[in-house]
């Protein structure tokens, strides 16, 4: 049959308060490897969830044609029956079951409810061989590395008679060698007639395996390029990804002239952190950076660049395993082995994941704000509710938290207001250095502006601000200096004048070989 294997036409997907996809059209040719790229939050993963039935038919607008048929998948099972299999960033294998059991999970070779082990093992070995694994099918998943696990996921997909394989950032968690193997396998499967969609940030990867690339930006499909054509350079892809105009508004900022004589408020030297489980992986690799008082320093990077991991490990070693490096505050080395120690030294970390790491969602605004520095409103271990109330009312006004009372449960607030509560709680702690991790993620434009104003104000008061963000316009609009990170390393440093979206993105998509 000729013609494209998949057509997604004018897909629109709305979540309460956010339009994740506003108009996406995607055409995938039969037997090709089709890459999708775009910034964090552009809508790539949402699009794939629409395709695979995670967001069922009826919850989105638009039309999906697969093999020339109109599809209306009500769940993942329905899409898998048609041969569309998605492999998510987080692997979905059961660690304490064997490879064979995992491959056929939910799809067992069974007779009358009993598993046919002979058939299972035989078929599993065949599939494992096909993906280039020589491990025994009875090995537990927990006993093999992440790279191999990714291959097991593909074996699992093959067992389902896959026609279209979707890989969501498959190499994000892999080392170079495993990445290489995986990419080779995708090419091998292509020869066998399997079409693949691969979501990736790594441009060199896209060049290696993909035939065409569709660029998604702000919930829209921008363009589809032929990767093999000479015109499709990495710069061409980058300009497609960042092509947005700088139409966001930022508070007027007089860029801070760094006083070279004073020691930086916070300096990180040669910071290295290993993955908490996989000790062979350096999640943060020999990073050194500094921030002065009154300065806003940005850290740009794509998913998996190690920005959050860097921040959290510096902040009381709240992530991973420390493998070296020092932290200096005002030129003196300090210890930040626990969160409490970091807080004592005047460091605050405002998390990117406010629901999991920032707030007690079942408690009220009042108590969430006071938690970081309860001692400030307590005498001899007893909280003065009077004082506490005054503090939270003050932040409600100064941060413009929109709520009927400060006793409203935080979980019932909008994202923007929740973010203001997280910020309030850390400002209340009275830090000198604030590390803000994606402080405007998932909140609307108006609230964003308010948060920018607060950040600007913090810097004007002489606090040192580290601003981690995936939105380049935001960094360009707010920061005095911007570092870029990729794959756990620092890949660049730009002054406000030097930085452009293109120059940053180039350093953010640099892979290891290129950097060295």
């Amino acid at each position: 049959m000729a013609g494209p294997v998949l057509e997604m036409r004018s897909i629109v997907k709305t979540f309460p308060g956010v339009k994740a996809l506003s108009d996406v059209t995607l055409t995938v040719q039969r037997g090709e490897v089709h890459a999708i790229c775009g910034e964090n939050g552009a809508g790539k993963s949402t699009l794939m969830k629409v395709l695979s039935g995670v967001h069922p038919h009826g919850t989105y607008e638009g039309e999906i044609l697969f093999d020339g048929e109109v599809c209306s998948f009500k769940d993942i099972r329905a899409s898998e029956e048609h041969g569309i299999v998605i492999i998510h960033q987080e692997l979905a294998l059961v660690p304490f079951l064997s490879l064979a059991e995992n491959i056929f999970l939910g799809n067992e070779h069974a007779k009358g409810g009993l598993i046919d082990w002979r058939e299972t093992l035989k078929h599993a070995s065949e599939l494992l061989r096909r993906v280039g694994l020589s491990d025994h099918p009875e090995t537990r998943v927990a006993d093999i590395g992440v790279g191999k696990q990714q291959l097991v996921e593909i074996a699992k997909a093959l067992s389902k008679k896959v026609k279209l394989l979707i890989l969501d950032e498959p190499t994000a968690a892999l080392n170079d060698e495993d990445s290489g193997k995986l990419l080779d396998l995708i090419l091998e499967l292509k020869k066998q007639g399997i079409t693949s969609i691969i979501i990736s940030h790594k441009l060199n990867e896209i060049r290696k395996v993909a035939d065409s690339v569709t660029i998604i930006r702000d919930g829209r499909s921008i363009e589809t390029l032929d990767v093999k054509s000479a015109e499709t350079t990495e710069d061409r892809i980058i300009s497609g990804m960042v092509g947005r105009d700088l139409d966001h508004r930022f508070p007027e900022r007089t860029p801070h002239e760094a006083e070279a004589k004073a020691a930086p408020a916070l300096e990180i030297r040669n910071w290295t952190v290993h993955h908490p489980i996989d000790q062979t992986r350096k999640v943060v690799d020999d990073v050194s950076l500094s921030v002065r008082r009154g300065e806003i320093v940005g850290i740009a990077g794509l998913m998996g660049a190690g920005r959050t991991e860097l921040a959290m490990s510096v902040f009381g070693r709240a992530y991973g395993r420390y493998a070296g490096g020092t932290v200096l505050k005002d030129g003196k080395e300090i210890r930040t082995r626990h969160v409490a120690e970091a807080v004592e030294h005047g460091i605050a970390y405002v998390t990117e994941d406010r629901k999991h790491y920032g707030l007690n969602l079942i408690d009220n605004i009042n108590r969430n704000i006071s938690l970081t520095a309860l001692d400030k409103v307590a005498r001899r271990g007893v909280v003065d509710e009077h004082e506490e109330r005054k503090v939270s009312e003050r932040f409600r006004k100064s941060m413009n938290i929109k709520t009927p009372t400060v006793f409203e449960t935080v979980g019932r607030l909008s994202g923007g207001n929740q973010q203001k509560v997280v910020l309030s709680k850390w400002i209340f702690a009275g830090p000198e250095v604030l590390i803000l991790d994606e402080p405007t993620r998932g909140i609307d434009v108006g609230a964003k502006y308010e948060i920018y104003t607060v950040i600007d104000q913090l810097a004007a008061e002489g606090k040192a601000v580290v601003f981690i963000s995936s939105e380049l316009p935001e960094l360009l609009g707010m920061c005095d200096r911007i570092y870029t990170m990729a794959a756990g390393r620092l890949t660049g440093e730009f002054s406000r004048a030097e930085a452009t979206q293109e120059s940053l993105m180039r350093q953010m998509t640099k892979d290891k070989e290129v950097t060295r």
């Binding site: 007690n360 408690d363 609307d444």
Partner: protein, 414 residues
């Protein structure tokens, strides 16, 4: 105040609209509050209905002064345990060992006072220390070694039950010295003019009423100072009348029999003390924080391990107190004392508004939950319902209470 407000009121944001505020009038607020505290108000209501029901079907026997006095004496230990258990559950843990620990402490007390004739006040202090130490040991494994509390306290349940039998050599040991007995079944002394009522109890009841009413008015005034929306005046007065009436009824009932049991005073002190800690102390706040969202609490600098450790230490001390009360009431230490009390305490906490995932619950809730179970017990005893059916009914009551809460939460979508 060493804090500084760093953010000025932001200028009206030019682009787009700002985050949506949730509007709503006063009525909405009251209804909201009611709905969100449904479990507790609902349980208070259920408690009232259960009391009324049994009062009717027992021809008023349930509310006879002697029976009310008995009801308190019978349930005091579970209520003491329920307070500690509530803290444990709010912190996101569970303690299965408390029933066995009460038996162990009772046995220890018997060995000290009966076999070794130790002075009872000294024995009492030693018993509380032993309970705290047992709790601390379990807390150490849970907090610092990261062994799940279910496992650690399941082990503790077996260990302490076995240790009890070892201490007592399978025998029942008693009687206890008079002083110790008083904890379990003593009453306040009789003094003053002959009024047909127990004078000190009347006085205490009166003091309590004055205290509570003053407290309520102070709270209200404070809230108004902050220009907080307060409950409408008539509703507020209704609440005051209800509180005064119920305290008065219980006081009169107790005063017309032997007066207030000593264990009731202990219990009252615990409720006030722990209620205060959970509401106002930094320690209490930290318990709610680690139960509500452990990663967020850790990242806020809460010393989660220390808090967990102390919660279990405290549970041990309260279990010891409960153990002394049981032993004193039965006037003997028995290897089978406190059997299944951990389950009653856990059930009380859940009926009273605790959540499996932690972070919610109040001390008063645990007491209400415990009283629901206690009145069910007592009422069914009066009706001569066998223990077989009692267990079935109590089980269903637990299921209904928590089921109602889950249903209510799903309906309100919160």
């Amino acid at each position: 105040m060493s804090t500084d407000v760093t953010a000025k009121t932001p200028a009206p944001a030019p682009p787009g609209k700002t985050g949506g505020a949730t509007g709503g009038g006063l009525l909405q607020l009251v209804l909201d509050g009611l709905r969100r505290n449904m479990r507790q108000y609902g349980m208070l209501l259920a408690l009232g209905l259960i009391v009324a029901f049994f009062a009717v079907v027992t021809d008023g026997d349930l509310l006879l002064p002697r029976n009310v006095s008995n009801l308190i004496l019978q349930n005091s230990y579970v209520l003491i345990l329920a307070i500690g258990m509530m803290l444990v559950i709010i912190a996101g843990h569970i303690d299965l060992s408390v029933g066995s620990l009460t038996a162990f402490v009772g046995a220890f007390a018997a060995v000290l006072t009966v076999q070794h004739h130790m002075a009872w006040p000294l024995a009492l202090v030693l018993c509380l220390l032993v309970g705290a130490a047992a709790g601390a040991a379990q807390g150490f494994f849970i907090a610092y070694l990261g062994i799940p509390s279910f496992i650690v306290t399941l082990a503790g349940m077996l260990v302490f039950r076995g240790a009890t039998e070892i201490l007592l050599e399978g025998q029942t040991l008693g009687p206890f010295p008079d002083g110790l007995q008083k904890i379990g079944n003593g009453f306040l002394p009789e003094t003053g003019p002959d009024t047909n009522y127990h004078n000190i109890t009347l006085l205490l009841g009166l003091v309590l009423i004055v205290f509570v009413v003053l407290q309520e008015f102070r709270d209200r005034k404070r809230q108004q100072e902050f220009s907080l929306d307060v409950v409408p005046l008539n509703l507020f007065l209704l609440k005051i009348v209800a509180i005064v009436a119920s305290v008065l009824v219980v006081t009169m009932l107790l005063a017309s029999y032997k007066g207030a049991p000593i264990v009731l005073l202990i219990l009252g002190a615990l409720v006030v003390g722990y209620g205060y800690i959970m509401r106002n102390a930094v320690f209490g706040r930290h318990i709610y924080a680690i139960g509500g969202n452990l990663p967020a609490a850790k990242l806020s600098g809460v010393k989660d391990k220390k808090v967990t450790f102390l919660v279990f230490l405290n549970m041990g001390a309260l279990a010891a107190l409960a153990g002394l009360a049981i032993a004193a009431r039965l006037n003997a230490a028995s290897p089978k004392a406190g059997l299944n009390y951990e389950l009653e305490a856990i059930a009380s906490a859940f009926i009273g508004g605790a959540s499996m995932s932690g972070g919610v619950g109040t001390v008063l809730g645990a007491i209400i939950g415990g009283l629901v179970l206690g009145v069910l017990n007592n009422g069914m005893n009066l009706l001569s319902v066998g223990t077989d059916w009692q267990q079935v009914i109590k089980g269903l009551a637990l299921l209904a209470a928590v089921g109602f809460d889950v249903w209510n939460k799903r309906k309100s979508g919160s």
